[in-house]
Symmetry: D3
Subunit: 136 residues, 6 copies
């Protein structure tokens, strides 16, 4: 299996409600380094998993919607906590709608919040072509 | 699948018996950067794989038993070599007994011994709740 | 010249007023990796620049005052922007008051806000012993 | 499952034909950081996945054939593009022929071309012992 | 003293004539991670060394001239070796002409060619305002 | 000023006597990542600070004397603590005797003992050519 990965980052504010979160209940922030990995069994005729520039631009497009923002007031996290796990899940869903890949392609999103802690969400995507009627 | 990972490190002395180990047969030492990753299909109601502070504290508790020690004289490695593979296996077993996770959860332990070499042990754990009669 | 360095990090929210800051005018956040370096011409009788645990604990004490907070509402940044340069300056001043080092010791504070951007403030400190009448 | 990983690097020139590659159509170059990971269910009697020095030397032997070269003129890439995916595939094949491991062992080759982009090829190898009639 | 640093990278081909260079005499390539650091005694009224976006864009402009190219055929290195030291010197000179900073500002250019080797050039720049008659 | 830097590492055991060292009083160990930086005002006619292979080989030669050893029993640290500061000082002295550079060249040795702690020793060297009568 072949994989290609790219890295970008976002700088967001948020707070995590619930006493289990300790000091993270307060409004604070994070630089999340975001890596995306795309798996594919066979390469394209060009000898690639996917064109890197397409992957990077698609990722940037998804991240631009949440970058430099307070996620406590962002519609994507209305009514739910913006834990890094759910931010990864959000990026996976949005990128899955944008990437020109076959439904079933596995996409892995990893967020590093510090040198010591990271989260990951890994799952097949349904694929852009399968979602014509769905609002972005 | 969701994953959360945390990083810590230990500084240990040891020697590896057997001429195949070359200079590592001599008493020497290593800083092992230790990463733990916990996999889980669904998130908790809080939107997390596991509380990061619980994972970090549990890992520190396990590492404290071997940190700043000569593993040649440590009971956990009596009668066996303390190769990084077996140190990873040891951390996996001990952490599996401490973590408040369901039996069957996959735990991945990675040790970097230098910028150029690392080892990993990845397996499901039996889970703390299944081990009431077993001595820690 | 000898130097010892340690690393920690903070996760803060803030906004930067002024249209030159573009999207950073919005409330957002950052994980700042904070490194401190202490220079000294001669070592202590123990063969050290400074005890690492003292340096790490002092740094943690200073960072705890701003960690997991919204700097827009923090007294230390009242009436000024919390640019990374000024956060580094703040940490330098506060740490200089706490560290048990001779006045004139050079202290370097470096903040990485992402893998691509960092800032640094480097200057001698006046030293804790010279500041008896000054409120912390 | 146990894994051992090692890291090395190569510095090569190449060009990628096809307008989709944009500026990479021009003759340019890359430092590829190359990591190899070997998986194994059980450890050797010595408590290892594989002897690290054997793995590092085998990898160096494979990389020496392409290191400090222009891949546009290298026989291994005659008639095909030397995309990082295909370089990873090449290293996988050549290393699989050299490593003293059982057929079926999974080998993972990862190439980082910059801090922001990487590729990976992961597959079982056929194993050296199965290839007696094949020229190295 | 305050410093701000930013990172970018280039992917170039080149060869280094002279038998002392061993295998690097052959046409090969490198990913050079390029970091720029700007020093300044006092901050701007905005609390910055220099606007990060201006620094990053200026650096990208300079690097674009040599990125994805064969330096053996680049006018900037006509008649001289493109050692990493001289590439750093080239970037320093070109960036010094573009950056809106006072003459005398110290600029540090660091190139990493691999995880194991890097070079640096550090010197004051003459400053853009002193070079009105010079073609960019 | 030009600088070239290279990286290597050692894996040593040691203990640090004195109750201030806490758990480090016990026999333990460390992987020290060792970086060496050589400064020079002008480049050689080849356009280099120093030949990288010479620098790397000289460093390896110095490190080989302490690598994979228990520093508590090493002659170089007889009667003194092997703190990382003094290991850096030792490497500086030994490398200064080996490197084919002019007396007065500044050499910087940095040891990382973990991702969180490092030390550095920076000073001019007397230079190999000035030390004919001194035993290596």
């Amino acid at each position: 299996m072949y994989t290609v990965g790219v890295r970008d980052h976002i700088m967001v504010a948020h707070s995590l409600k619930g006493e289990q979160f300790g000091p993270a209940q307060r409004l604070h922030g994070a630089t999340y380094t975001v890596t995306v990995e795309v798996d594919r069994e066979e390469l394209s005729p060009l000898g690639q998993v996917i064109e890197t520039s397409v992957l990077r631009d698609s990722l940037r497009g998804v991240l631009a919607e949440i970058d430099y923002r307070n996620l406590d007031e962002h519609p994507a996290f209305e009514g739910k906590r913006s834990t890094p796990e759910l931010i990864a899940r959000h990026i996976h869903r949005e990128l899955g709608r944008k990437l020109p890949v076959t439904a079933g392609t596995t996409l892995t999103i990893t967020l590093h919040e510090s040198p010591l802690v990271w989260v990951r969400y890994r799952a097949p995507i349904r694929g852009a072509s399968m979602l014509p009627a769905e609002p972005a």
